[in-house]
Symmetry: C3
Subunit: 135 residues, 3 copies
Amino acid sequence: MIVLNDLIHLKSHLRSHWIDITDKVQAVVSRSGIIEGICTVVCLHTTASITVNENADPDVEKDFFKMLEQLIPINASFRHVEGNSDSHIKASLTGLSAQIPVSGGRLVLGTWQSVYFCEFDGPRSRKVSVTVMGQ
Amino acid sequence: MIVLNDLIHLKSHLRSHWIDITDKVQAVVSRSGIIEGICTVVCLHTTASITVNENADPDVEKDFFKMLEQLIPINASFRHVEGNSDSHIKASLTGLSAQIPVSGGRLVLGTWQSVYFCEFDGPRSRKVSVTVMGQ
Amino acid sequence: MIVLNDLIHLKSHLRSHWIDITDKVQAVVSRSGIIEGICTVVCLHTTASITVNENADPDVEKDFFKMLEQLIPINASFRHVEGNSDSHIKASLTGLSAQIPVSGGRLVLGTWQSVYFCEFDGPRSRKVSVTVMGQ
């Protein structure tokens, strides 16, 4: 069995947007030499998250962040004084990690799927953990 | 160590409903021969998801999809022109994958838990990836 | 390869709150002897969940549960007669499991991250499954 833990470094450039990290995650899988296994992508922050969604139409991203802002407005009545309570809640709702199977040395993704880092409190420097386990 | 990657094929029959796939997932676990490990169930689409929830009262499913429809209405003001922006958002909120421990060759689930494929843009033919890893 | 499946037993004391289980999860990791791998934390109930979020300011917890209650009120028009339809929906939205990498024998968590059991229908006695896999 092989286990490879690695880090991806990112810079977000807006308060809320997503960044396609599929190629960076695939690079870690390729470096691991693992042919069959699981890749686990984990956000190491509490105001950002990881999801898998459509990579074809950029409007999906715009609809996604606009709807989240409507559901959990930045200026709702919050107690936490840092002005990012909405970001913490959006992070837990969209999920801190993603699992992608690895087969034939490649991430197993559907035709339209990419792996996204979701920024909810940018712009910031961010770290994503990638662990590949398999054989 | 053993790794088995397999696919489950499904047909959804409504725009929004869930399908209990616990038996199909257990069948992959049994075929793998793995006694102790982890099973990872991943949706390969961007308008559907995987969750674990109650299998006893069918009203839980009805309440679940009705509340999601109230929160993220199909006809909200979206830019994506395919009419399924709500489905993309519901998919990321409910989660693209589930992890279920395997012990004694069986999925470790609570008394009332089943594994569900959540359709948000059916009816469609769908694929779910199941990876079992362990020994 | 080593696989260790274990259980954490908890008692929640309110209808809705979270419980920091990071130390209990780390104890399972330490007992496993695994240096590099993945830890999977799974909720075995359908009205509770697992998330990772901030451990510094207790107001984050209060904002989190208040916002979820606003989005999915306990007394919305539900069919399920047990009075906890909101809890089932909140569980699926916040997620039944979390994955945390293990490196150097320690959970890989960001500076402000803790692993939380989220109770949405307490007070109750609860069980959380912890599986550590690696070498």
